[in-house]
Amino acid sequence: MSEPKDNAVAADRAMVPYWEAARAGRLLLRRCSTCSELHYYPRPLCPFCLSSEGEWVEASGEGVIYSWSVERRANPPYAIAFVTLREGPTLMSNIVDCDLDGLAVGQAVHLQFEEREGQPVPVFRPS
Protein backbone atom coordinates (compact mmCIF):
# COMPACT_ATOMS: atom_id res chain seq x y z
CA MET A 1 0.00 0.00 0.00
CA SER A 2 1.37 3.40 -0.93
CA GLU A 3 1.23 6.52 1.19
CA PRO A 4 -1.02 9.33 -0.03
CA LYS A 5 0.89 11.98 -1.93
CA ASP A 6 -1.22 15.07 -1.09
CA ASN A 7 -2.31 16.16 2.29
CA ALA A 8 -5.81 14.68 2.43
CA VAL A 9 -6.12 15.84 6.01
CA ALA A 10 -5.70 19.55 5.24
CA ALA A 11 -8.16 19.45 2.34
CA ASP A 12 -11.02 18.04 4.43
CA ARG A 13 -12.86 20.93 6.11
CA ALA A 14 -15.40 18.75 7.93
CA MET A 15 -12.63 16.86 9.72
CA VAL A 16 -10.91 19.93 11.25
CA PRO A 17 -12.45 19.32 14.73
CA TYR A 18 -11.27 15.71 14.60
CA TRP A 19 -7.66 16.61 13.89
CA GLU A 20 -7.65 19.50 16.39
CA ALA A 21 -8.88 17.12 19.09
CA ALA A 22 -6.31 14.53 18.04
CA ARG A 23 -3.54 17.12 18.50
CA ALA A 24 -4.85 17.64 22.02
CA GLY A 25 -4.77 13.87 22.68
CA ARG A 26 -8.51 13.27 22.34
CA LEU A 27 -10.16 10.76 19.98
CA LEU A 28 -13.46 11.88 18.49
CA LEU A 29 -16.14 9.57 17.13
CA ARG A 30 -19.18 10.74 15.22
CA ARG A 31 -22.77 10.18 16.30
CA CYS A 32 -25.60 10.67 13.81
CA SER A 33 -28.38 12.94 15.08
CA THR A 34 -30.91 11.27 12.79
CA CYS A 35 -30.33 7.52 13.36
CA SER A 36 -28.25 7.81 16.57
CA GLU A 37 -25.62 5.38 15.25
CA LEU A 38 -22.02 5.96 16.27
CA HIS A 39 -19.38 5.53 13.57
CA TYR A 40 -15.64 5.59 12.93
CA TYR A 41 -13.72 6.68 10.88
CA PRO A 42 -15.75 9.87 11.14
CA ARG A 43 -17.62 11.23 8.14
CA PRO A 44 -19.79 14.34 7.70
CA LEU A 45 -22.50 12.09 6.23
CA CYS A 46 -23.58 9.15 8.41
CA PRO A 47 -22.58 5.81 6.79
CA PHE A 48 -25.78 4.23 8.10
CA CYS A 49 -28.34 6.76 6.78
CA LEU A 50 -26.42 9.51 4.91
CA SER A 51 -27.80 12.19 7.23
CA SER A 52 -25.52 15.21 7.48
CA GLU A 53 -26.73 16.01 10.99
CA GLY A 54 -24.29 14.70 13.56
CA GLU A 55 -22.21 15.49 16.63
CA TRP A 56 -18.72 14.71 17.85
CA VAL A 57 -18.39 12.30 20.76
CA GLU A 58 -15.16 11.89 22.68
CA ALA A 59 -14.00 8.31 23.12
CA SER A 60 -13.11 7.15 26.63
CA GLY A 61 -9.85 5.76 25.32
CA GLU A 62 -10.57 2.28 26.71
CA GLY A 63 -10.82 -0.68 24.37
CA VAL A 64 -10.02 -4.33 23.81
CA ILE A 65 -8.02 -6.02 21.05
CA TYR A 66 -10.47 -7.47 18.50
CA SER A 67 -7.68 -8.99 16.42
CA TRP A 68 -3.96 -8.45 15.96
CA SER A 69 -0.89 -9.47 14.01
CA VAL A 70 2.82 -8.80 14.22
CA GLU A 71 4.55 -7.96 10.96
CA ARG A 72 7.64 -10.08 11.55
CA ARG A 73 9.49 -9.17 8.37
CA ALA A 74 9.57 -5.46 9.23
CA ASN A 75 12.61 -3.98 10.93
CA PRO A 76 11.69 -3.52 13.68
CA PRO A 77 8.61 -5.77 13.77
CA TYR A 78 5.40 -4.00 14.78
CA ALA A 79 1.93 -4.96 16.03
CA ILE A 80 -1.12 -3.96 14.03
CA ALA A 81 -4.57 -4.50 15.50
CA PHE A 82 -8.25 -3.85 15.30
CA VAL A 83 -9.33 -2.36 18.62
CA THR A 84 -12.97 -2.31 19.72
CA LEU A 85 -13.64 0.85 21.70
CA ARG A 86 -15.80 0.77 24.81
CA GLU A 87 -18.25 2.98 22.86
CA GLY A 88 -18.67 0.28 20.18
CA PRO A 89 -16.83 1.02 16.94
CA THR A 90 -13.76 -1.00 15.95
CA LEU A 91 -10.78 0.76 14.41
CA MET A 92 -7.40 -0.12 12.94
CA SER A 93 -4.41 0.88 15.06
CA ASN A 94 -1.06 -0.22 16.40
CA ILE A 95 -0.33 -1.71 19.81
CA VAL A 96 2.77 0.05 21.16
CA ASP A 97 4.95 -0.26 24.27
CA CYS A 98 4.04 -3.93 24.47
CA ASP A 99 5.54 -7.42 24.44
CA LEU A 100 5.04 -8.48 20.80
CA ASP A 101 4.85 -12.10 21.95
CA GLY A 102 2.29 -11.35 24.66
CA LEU A 103 -0.70 -9.95 22.74
CA ALA A 104 -4.13 -11.57 22.91
CA VAL A 105 -7.61 -11.10 21.53
CA GLY A 106 -9.72 -9.54 24.26
CA GLN A 107 -6.74 -7.87 25.93
CA ALA A 108 -7.58 -4.46 27.47
CA VAL A 109 -5.76 -1.53 25.87
CA HIS A 110 -5.67 2.23 26.43
CA LEU A 111 -5.45 5.08 23.94
CA GLN A 112 -2.51 7.37 23.41
CA PHE A 113 -1.49 9.55 20.48
CA GLU A 114 1.71 9.50 18.46
CA GLU A 115 2.84 11.97 15.85
CA ARG A 116 3.60 10.26 12.53
CA GLU A 117 4.69 12.30 9.53
CA GLY A 118 3.16 15.39 11.09
CA GLN A 119 -0.16 13.69 11.79
CA PRO A 120 -1.43 12.77 15.29
CA VAL A 121 -2.57 9.14 15.17
CA PRO A 122 -4.41 7.11 17.83
CA VAL A 123 -2.46 4.07 19.02
CA PHE A 124 -2.97 1.80 22.02
CA ARG A 125 -0.86 0.22 24.76
CA PRO A 126 -1.78 -2.60 27.10
CA SER A 127 -3.77 -1.28 30.10
Binding site: K5, A8, E37, S69, R72, I80, V105, R116
Partner: protein
Protein backbone atom coordinates in the same frame (compact mmCIF):
# COMPACT_ATOMS: atom_id res chain seq x y z
CA UNK B 1 -34.32 -11.56 -16.07
CA UNK B 2 -31.55 -14.05 -15.50
CA UNK B 3 -28.25 -15.01 -17.11
CA UNK B 4 -28.95 -18.68 -16.47
CA UNK B 5 -28.12 -20.64 -19.61
CA UNK B 6 -27.87 -17.47 -21.73
CA UNK B 7 -24.08 -17.40 -22.18
CA UNK B 8 -21.25 -19.92 -22.63
CA UNK B 9 -17.53 -19.89 -21.97
CA UNK B 10 -16.17 -20.89 -25.37
CA UNK B 11 -12.46 -20.18 -25.05
CA UNK B 12 -9.85 -20.04 -22.30
CA UNK B 13 -6.12 -19.45 -22.18
CA UNK B 14 -3.50 -19.27 -19.46
CA UNK B 15 -0.11 -17.76 -20.20
CA UNK B 16 2.68 -20.20 -19.46
CA UNK B 17 5.09 -17.51 -18.27
CA UNK B 18 5.67 -16.97 -14.58
CA UNK B 19 8.43 -14.37 -15.12
CA UNK B 20 7.85 -12.16 -18.17
CA UNK B 21 11.27 -10.54 -18.52
CA UNK B 22 11.26 -8.14 -21.47
CA UNK B 23 7.56 -8.65 -22.25
CA UNK B 24 5.30 -5.65 -21.58
CA UNK B 25 1.80 -5.90 -20.13
CA UNK B 26 0.24 -4.99 -23.47
CA UNK B 27 1.84 -7.98 -25.18
CA UNK B 28 0.76 -10.33 -22.38
CA UNK B 29 -2.85 -9.11 -22.70
CA UNK B 30 -2.76 -9.60 -26.48
CA UNK B 31 -1.14 -13.05 -26.24
CA UNK B 32 -3.75 -14.36 -23.82
CA UNK B 33 -6.52 -12.85 -25.95
CA UNK B 34 -5.19 -14.61 -29.04
CA UNK B 35 -4.84 -17.85 -27.11
CA UNK B 36 -8.43 -17.79 -25.85
CA UNK B 37 -9.84 -16.84 -29.28
CA UNK B 38 -7.84 -19.67 -30.91
CA UNK B 39 -9.13 -22.06 -28.26
CA UNK B 40 -12.71 -21.02 -29.03
CA UNK B 41 -12.22 -21.18 -32.80
CA UNK B 42 -13.01 -17.47 -33.18
CA UNK B 43 -11.05 -14.47 -34.41
CA UNK B 44 -10.51 -10.96 -33.11
CA UNK B 45 -13.06 -9.73 -35.69
CA UNK B 46 -15.75 -11.72 -33.86
CA UNK B 47 -15.25 -9.85 -30.58
CA UNK B 48 -17.87 -7.17 -29.91
CA UNK B 49 -17.40 -6.73 -26.14
CA UNK B 50 -14.18 -6.16 -24.17
CA UNK B 51 -13.77 -6.50 -20.42
CA UNK B 52 -10.65 -5.65 -18.43
CA UNK B 53 -9.67 -4.34 -14.99
CA UNK B 54 -7.03 -1.97 -13.66
CA UNK B 55 -4.19 -4.24 -14.75
CA UNK B 56 -4.79 -3.25 -18.40
CA UNK B 57 -2.43 -0.43 -19.43
CA UNK B 58 -4.05 2.86 -20.42
CA UNK B 59 -7.39 4.41 -19.54
CA UNK B 60 -10.01 1.71 -19.18
CA UNK B 61 -9.94 -0.59 -22.19
CA UNK B 62 -8.95 2.08 -24.73
CA UNK B 63 -5.28 1.29 -25.18
CA UNK B 64 -5.74 -2.47 -25.25
CA UNK B 65 -8.69 -2.27 -27.67
CA UNK B 66 -6.44 -0.21 -29.96
CA UNK B 67 -3.38 -2.48 -29.48
CA UNK B 68 -5.40 -5.60 -30.33
CA UNK B 69 -7.49 -3.96 -33.06
CA UNK B 70 -10.82 -4.56 -31.33
CA UNK B 71 -14.06 -2.99 -32.57
CA UNK B 72 -16.46 -3.32 -29.66
CA UNK B 73 -20.00 -2.24 -28.86
CA UNK B 74 -19.65 -2.60 -25.11
CA UNK B 75 -16.80 -2.33 -22.65
CA UNK B 76 -16.63 -2.78 -18.89
CA UNK B 77 -13.64 -1.96 -16.73
CA UNK B 78 -15.09 -2.99 -13.38
CA UNK B 79 -12.25 -2.92 -10.87
CA UNK B 80 -12.75 -5.20 -7.89
CA UNK B 81 -9.15 -6.33 -7.50
CA UNK B 82 -8.53 -10.03 -7.96
CA UNK B 83 -12.24 -10.77 -8.18
CA UNK B 84 -12.67 -8.46 -11.21
CA UNK B 85 -12.56 -11.18 -13.86
CA UNK B 86 -15.37 -13.18 -12.26
CA UNK B 87 -17.42 -9.97 -12.08
CA UNK B 88 -16.57 -9.41 -15.78
CA UNK B 89 -17.86 -12.89 -16.55
CA UNK B 90 -21.16 -11.97 -14.89
CA UNK B 91 -21.32 -8.65 -16.76
CA UNK B 92 -20.45 -10.27 -20.07
CA UNK B 93 -23.22 -12.83 -19.54
CA UNK B 94 -25.65 -9.99 -18.75
CA UNK B 95 -24.65 -8.12 -21.91
CA UNK B 96 -25.06 -11.28 -23.98
CA UNK B 97 -28.36 -12.21 -22.31
CA UNK B 98 -29.81 -8.79 -23.17
CA UNK B 99 -28.59 -9.03 -26.76
CA UNK B 100 -26.11 -6.15 -26.56
CA UNK B 101 -23.15 -8.30 -27.63
CA UNK B 102 -22.44 -11.81 -28.94
CA UNK B 103 -18.75 -12.43 -28.20
CA UNK B 104 -17.05 -11.06 -25.08
CA UNK B 105 -13.31 -11.05 -24.47
CA UNK B 106 -11.96 -10.78 -20.89
CA UNK B 107 -8.21 -10.37 -20.32
CA UNK B 108 -5.85 -10.20 -17.35
CA UNK B 109 -2.08 -9.76 -17.27
CA UNK B 110 0.38 -8.79 -14.56
CA UNK B 111 4.10 -8.44 -13.95
CA UNK B 112 4.76 -8.05 -10.22
CA UNK B 113 8.08 -9.93 -10.58
CA UNK B 114 9.48 -7.96 -13.50
CA UNK B 115 8.00 -4.50 -13.07
CA UNK B 116 5.46 -2.72 -15.21
CA UNK B 117 2.73 -0.36 -14.22
CA UNK B 118 1.02 -1.14 -10.93
CA UNK B 119 -2.66 -1.92 -11.40
CA UNK B 120 -5.39 0.53 -10.58
CA UNK B 121 -3.46 3.76 -11.05
CA UNK B 122 -6.21 6.15 -12.17
CA UNK B 123 -8.69 5.49 -9.32
CA UNK B 124 -5.96 5.15 -6.68
CA UNK B 125 -4.50 8.55 -7.67
CA UNK B 126 -7.33 10.07 -5.61
CA UNK B 127 -6.70 9.38 -1.95
CA UNK B 128 -9.48 7.21 -0.51
CA UNK B 129 -11.20 8.63 2.59
CA UNK B 130 -10.11 5.71 4.78
CA UNK B 131 -6.39 6.28 4.08
CA UNK B 132 -5.60 8.79 6.88
CA UNK B 133 -7.24 6.42 9.38
CA UNK B 134 -5.37 3.29 8.27
CA UNK B 135 -2.10 3.93 6.41
CA UNK B 136 -0.26 5.38 9.47
CA UNK B 137 -0.59 1.93 11.10
CA UNK B 138 1.27 0.20 8.22
CA UNK B 139 -1.32 -2.32 7.08
CA UNK B 140 0.03 -4.85 4.58
CA UNK B 141 -1.80 -7.51 2.63
CA UNK B 142 -0.12 -10.03 4.92
CA UNK B 143 -0.99 -8.54 8.30
CA UNK B 144 -4.54 -7.68 7.20
CA UNK B 145 -5.36 -11.25 6.16
CA UNK B 146 -3.48 -12.49 9.23
CA UNK B 147 -5.90 -10.59 11.46
CA UNK B 148 -8.80 -12.48 9.88
CA UNK B 149 -7.01 -15.74 10.66
CA UNK B 150 -6.35 -14.65 14.25
CA UNK B 151 -9.98 -13.72 14.88
CA UNK B 152 -11.21 -16.91 13.24
CA UNK B 153 -8.92 -18.95 15.49
CA UNK B 154 -10.19 -17.03 18.53
CA UNK B 155 -13.89 -17.49 17.78
CA UNK B 156 -13.90 -21.00 16.33
CA UNK B 157 -10.76 -22.72 17.54
CA UNK B 158 -9.31 -22.97 14.04
CA UNK B 159 -5.67 -24.08 14.14
CA UNK B 160 -2.55 -23.43 12.07
CA UNK B 161 -2.45 -27.16 11.30
CA UNK B 162 -5.95 -27.01 9.80
CA UNK B 163 -4.99 -24.00 7.67
CA UNK B 164 -1.85 -25.86 6.59
CA UNK B 165 -3.99 -28.63 5.08
CA UNK B 166 -5.12 -26.12 2.43
CA UNK B 167 -1.53 -25.57 1.26
CA UNK B 168 -0.88 -29.31 1.45
CA UNK B 169 -3.87 -29.98 -0.85
CA UNK B 170 -2.76 -27.29 -3.30
CA UNK B 171 0.73 -28.79 -3.41
CA UNK B 172 -0.65 -32.26 -4.11
CA UNK B 173 -2.32 -30.76 -7.19
CA UNK B 174 0.61 -28.58 -8.27
CA UNK B 175 2.98 -31.54 -8.52
CA UNK B 176 1.16 -32.46 -11.74
CA UNK B 177 1.30 -28.97 -13.29
CA UNK B 178 4.55 -28.44 -15.25
CA UNK B 179 4.01 -24.66 -15.19
CA UNK B 180 3.49 -24.42 -11.41
CA UNK B 181 6.03 -22.33 -9.50
CA UNK B 182 5.98 -24.67 -6.48
CA UNK B 183 5.75 -28.33 -7.50
CA UNK B 184 7.02 -30.01 -4.36
CA UNK B 185 4.41 -31.72 -2.20
CA UNK B 186 4.53 -30.24 1.30
CA UNK B 187 3.35 -31.59 4.64
CA UNK B 188 1.40 -29.95 7.46
CA UNK B 189 4.60 -29.96 9.53
CA UNK B 190 6.50 -28.15 6.79
CA UNK B 191 3.82 -25.45 6.57
CA UNK B 192 3.56 -24.80 10.31
CA UNK B 193 7.34 -24.88 10.71
CA UNK B 194 7.94 -22.35 7.93
CA UNK B 195 8.77 -18.86 9.26
CA UNK B 196 5.95 -16.73 10.66
CA UNK B 197 5.56 -13.75 8.33
CA UNK B 198 2.59 -12.09 10.08
CA UNK B 199 1.16 -13.90 13.11
CA UNK B 200 -0.50 -16.36 12.80
CA UNK B 201 0.34 -16.84 9.10
CA UNK B 202 3.46 -18.69 8.00
CA UNK B 203 5.38 -18.24 4.80
CA UNK B 204 3.72 -21.34 3.34
CA UNK B 205 0.25 -19.99 4.16
CA UNK B 206 0.87 -17.43 1.40
CA UNK B 207 0.39 -17.57 -2.36
CA UNK B 208 3.19 -17.17 -4.86
CA UNK B 209 4.01 -13.90 -6.61
CA UNK B 210 4.05 -14.41 -10.35
CA UNK B 211 3.88 -12.73 -13.72
CA UNK B 212 1.44 -14.04 -16.26
CA UNK B 213 -2.11 -13.69 -17.42
CA UNK B 214 -5.22 -15.33 -18.74
CA UNK B 215 -8.24 -14.74 -20.92
CA UNK B 216 -11.82 -15.89 -21.39
CA UNK B 217 -14.11 -15.78 -24.41
CA UNK B 218 -17.82 -15.73 -23.55
CA UNK B 219 -20.41 -16.21 -26.28
CA UNK B 220 -24.13 -16.28 -27.00
CA UNK B 221 -25.83 -19.71 -27.31
CA UNK B 222 -26.16 -19.44 -31.11
CA UNK B 223 -22.40 -18.83 -31.41
CA UNK B 224 -21.60 -21.66 -28.99
CA UNK B 225 -23.69 -24.03 -31.12
CA UNK B 226 -21.34 -23.44 -34.08
CA UNK B 227 -18.13 -24.14 -32.13
CA UNK B 228 -16.43 -27.50 -31.74
CA UNK B 229 -14.86 -27.18 -28.27
CA UNK B 230 -16.64 -28.61 -25.19
CA UNK B 231 -19.16 -26.07 -23.98
CA UNK B 232 -19.46 -24.59 -20.51
CA UNK B 233 -22.72 -22.90 -19.60
CA UNK B 234 -23.02 -20.06 -17.08
CA UNK B 235 -25.77 -20.88 -14.60
CA UNK B 236 -25.59 -18.06 -12.10
CA UNK B 237 -23.42 -15.34 -10.64
CA UNK B 238 -23.32 -12.98 -7.71
CA UNK B 239 -21.25 -10.03 -6.55
CA UNK B 240 -20.80 -8.03 -3.36
CA UNK B 241 -18.69 -5.44 -1.62
CA UNK B 242 -18.00 -5.90 2.09
CA UNK B 243 -16.47 -3.04 4.11
CA UNK B 244 -15.87 -1.88 7.66
CA UNK B 245 -19.49 -0.75 8.08
CA UNK B 246 -18.80 2.37 10.10
CA UNK B 247 -16.77 0.36 12.60
CA UNK B 248 -19.37 -2.36 13.26
CA UNK B 249 -17.01 -5.06 12.10
CA UNK B 250 -16.98 -8.85 11.95
CA UNK B 251 -13.92 -10.01 10.02
CA UNK B 252 -14.64 -13.74 10.35
CA UNK B 253 -16.80 -13.76 7.23
CA UNK B 254 -16.47 -12.37 3.71
CA UNK B 255 -18.71 -11.00 0.99
CA UNK B 256 -18.97 -14.57 -0.32
CA UNK B 257 -21.93 -14.87 2.06
CA UNK B 258 -23.81 -12.51 -0.26
CA UNK B 259 -22.28 -13.22 -3.68
CA UNK B 260 -22.45 -16.98 -3.18
CA UNK B 261 -26.08 -16.96 -2.06
CA UNK B 262 -27.04 -14.91 -5.12
CA UNK B 263 -25.17 -17.22 -7.49
CA UNK B 264 -26.70 -20.38 -6.00
CA UNK B 265 -30.17 -18.82 -6.12
CA UNK B 266 -29.81 -17.88 -9.78
CA UNK B 267 -28.31 -21.25 -10.72
CA UNK B 268 -30.96 -23.19 -8.80
CA UNK B 269 -28.40 -25.54 -7.28
CA UNK B 270 -26.99 -26.12 -3.78
CA UNK B 271 -23.42 -26.36 -2.45
CA UNK B 272 -23.82 -30.14 -2.11
CA UNK B 273 -24.34 -30.35 -5.91
CA UNK B 274 -20.94 -28.80 -6.73
CA UNK B 275 -18.35 -31.34 -7.93
CA UNK B 276 -15.33 -29.02 -8.10
CA UNK B 277 -14.57 -25.60 -6.61
CA UNK B 278 -12.03 -22.94 -7.54
CA UNK B 279 -11.70 -20.54 -4.63
CA UNK B 280 -9.43 -17.57 -4.19
CA UNK B 281 -6.28 -18.59 -2.38
CA UNK B 282 -4.20 -15.52 -1.67
CA UNK B 283 -3.69 -17.12 1.74
CA UNK B 284 -4.90 -20.31 3.35
CA UNK B 285 -7.32 -18.35 5.55
CA UNK B 286 -8.95 -16.86 2.44
CA UNK B 287 -9.88 -20.36 1.26
CA UNK B 288 -11.20 -21.45 4.63
CA UNK B 289 -13.46 -18.44 5.12
CA UNK B 290 -14.80 -18.57 1.57
CA UNK B 291 -15.67 -22.27 1.78
CA UNK B 292 -17.70 -21.54 4.92
CA UNK B 293 -19.30 -18.42 3.44
CA UNK B 294 -20.25 -20.20 0.20
CA UNK B 295 -22.06 -22.83 2.28
CA UNK B 296 -19.80 -25.86 1.80
CA UNK B 297 -19.70 -26.17 5.60
CA UNK B 298 -21.13 -24.27 8.55
CA UNK B 299 -19.48 -21.09 9.85
CA UNK B 300 -16.64 -22.05 12.14
CA UNK B 301 -16.44 -25.60 10.77
CA UNK B 302 -13.94 -24.69 8.04
CA UNK B 303 -10.92 -25.92 9.96
CA UNK B 304 -12.33 -29.41 10.38
CA UNK B 305 -13.71 -29.34 6.82
CA UNK B 306 -10.37 -28.68 5.09
CA UNK B 307 -8.30 -31.04 7.27
CA UNK B 308 -7.08 -34.52 6.39
CA UNK B 309 -6.98 -33.99 2.65
CA UNK B 310 -10.65 -33.19 2.12
CA UNK B 311 -9.70 -30.70 -0.64
CA UNK B 312 -7.39 -33.11 -2.52
CA UNK B 313 -8.77 -34.42 -5.80
CA UNK B 314 -9.38 -38.17 -5.63
CA UNK B 315 -8.99 -38.16 -1.86
CA UNK B 316 -11.43 -35.70 -0.33
CA UNK B 317 -15.05 -34.70 -0.83
CA UNK B 318 -14.46 -31.25 -2.32
CA UNK B 319 -11.52 -31.04 -4.75
CA UNK B 320 -10.31 -27.45 -5.05
CA UNK B 321 -7.81 -25.50 -7.20
CA UNK B 322 -6.54 -28.54 -9.07
CA UNK B 323 -4.00 -26.46 -11.04
CA UNK B 324 -2.19 -25.79 -7.76
CA UNK B 325 -3.95 -22.43 -7.41
CA UNK B 326 -2.36 -19.21 -6.27
CA UNK B 327 -0.80 -21.07 -3.37
CA UNK B 328 1.47 -23.13 -5.65
CA UNK B 329 0.87 -22.50 -9.37
CA UNK B 330 0.56 -18.80 -10.18
CA UNK B 331 -1.14 -15.57 -9.13
CA UNK B 332 -0.68 -13.34 -12.18
CA UNK B 333 -0.54 -9.68 -11.25
CA UNK B 334 -1.50 -10.57 -7.66
CA UNK B 335 -4.99 -11.15 -9.07
CA UNK B 336 -6.28 -14.70 -8.88
CA UNK B 337 -9.86 -14.49 -10.13
CA UNK B 338 -9.06 -15.29 -13.74
CA UNK B 339 -7.10 -18.47 -13.05
CA UNK B 340 -9.95 -19.67 -10.83
CA UNK B 341 -12.32 -19.64 -13.81
CA UNK B 342 -9.72 -21.20 -16.14
CA UNK B 343 -9.26 -24.33 -14.01
CA UNK B 344 -13.02 -24.65 -13.41
CA UNK B 345 -13.54 -24.68 -17.19
CA UNK B 346 -10.77 -27.28 -17.63
CA UNK B 347 -12.48 -29.49 -15.06
CA UNK B 348 -15.88 -29.17 -16.74
CA UNK B 349 -14.34 -29.90 -20.15
CA UNK B 350 -12.55 -32.93 -18.74
CA UNK B 351 -9.25 -31.28 -19.68
CA UNK B 352 -7.64 -30.98 -16.25
CA UNK B 353 -4.50 -33.07 -15.68
CA UNK B 354 -5.63 -36.73 -15.52
CA UNK B 355 -4.15 -37.08 -12.02
CA UNK B 356 -6.47 -34.35 -10.69
CA UNK B 357 -9.45 -34.55 -13.07
CA UNK B 358 -12.68 -34.89 -11.09
CA UNK B 359 -14.83 -37.76 -12.36
CA UNK B 360 -18.15 -36.77 -13.94
CA UNK B 361 -17.42 -33.11 -13.28
CA UNK B 362 -20.61 -31.48 -14.52
CA UNK B 363 -21.03 -28.62 -12.04
CA UNK B 364 -18.35 -26.26 -10.74
CA UNK B 365 -18.08 -23.03 -8.80
CA UNK B 366 -15.44 -20.31 -9.13
CA UNK B 367 -15.12 -17.59 -6.53
CA UNK B 368 -12.88 -14.57 -6.12
CA UNK B 369 -12.08 -12.12 -3.35
CA UNK B 370 -10.41 -8.86 -4.34
CA UNK B 371 -8.87 -6.20 -2.15
CA UNK B 372 -8.37 -6.50 1.59
CA UNK B 373 -10.32 -9.16 3.45
CA UNK B 374 -10.85 -7.45 6.84
CA UNK B 375 -11.38 -3.88 5.63
CA UNK B 376 -12.91 -3.64 2.16
CA UNK B 377 -13.11 -6.26 -0.53
CA UNK B 378 -15.06 -7.37 -3.56
CA UNK B 379 -16.58 -10.84 -3.87
CA UNK B 380 -17.67 -12.51 -7.07
CA UNK B 381 -19.06 -16.00 -7.54
CA UNK B 382 -19.98 -17.88 -10.69
CA UNK B 383 -21.54 -21.31 -11.10
CA UNK B 384 -20.75 -23.19 -14.29
CA UNK B 385 -22.16 -26.32 -15.89
CA UNK B 386 -20.88 -28.73 -18.52
CA UNK B 387 -23.25 -28.31 -21.44
Amino acid sequence: MTIKGKAYIAGIFEHSTRKAEGIPLSQLHAEVAKGALDDAGLTVADVDGYFCAGDAPGLGGFSMAEYMGLRVRQTDCTETGGSSYIAHLNHAAQAIATGKIKVALITLAGKPRTGGAPPGRPPMAVIPPDAPFELPFKPTVLNLYAMCARRHMHEFGTTSEQLAWIKVAASHHAQHNPHAMLRDVVTVDEVVNSPIVADPLHRLDCCVVSDGGGALVVVAPEIAAQLRRPKVRILGAGEAIKHTNGGEMDITWSGAVWSGAKAFEEAGVRPADIKYVSVYDSFTITVLMQLEDLGFCAKGEGGRFVADGNLISGVGKLPFNTDGGGLCNNHPGNRGGMTKVLEAVRQLRGEAHPAVQVKNCDLALAHGTGGYLPTRHGSATVILERA
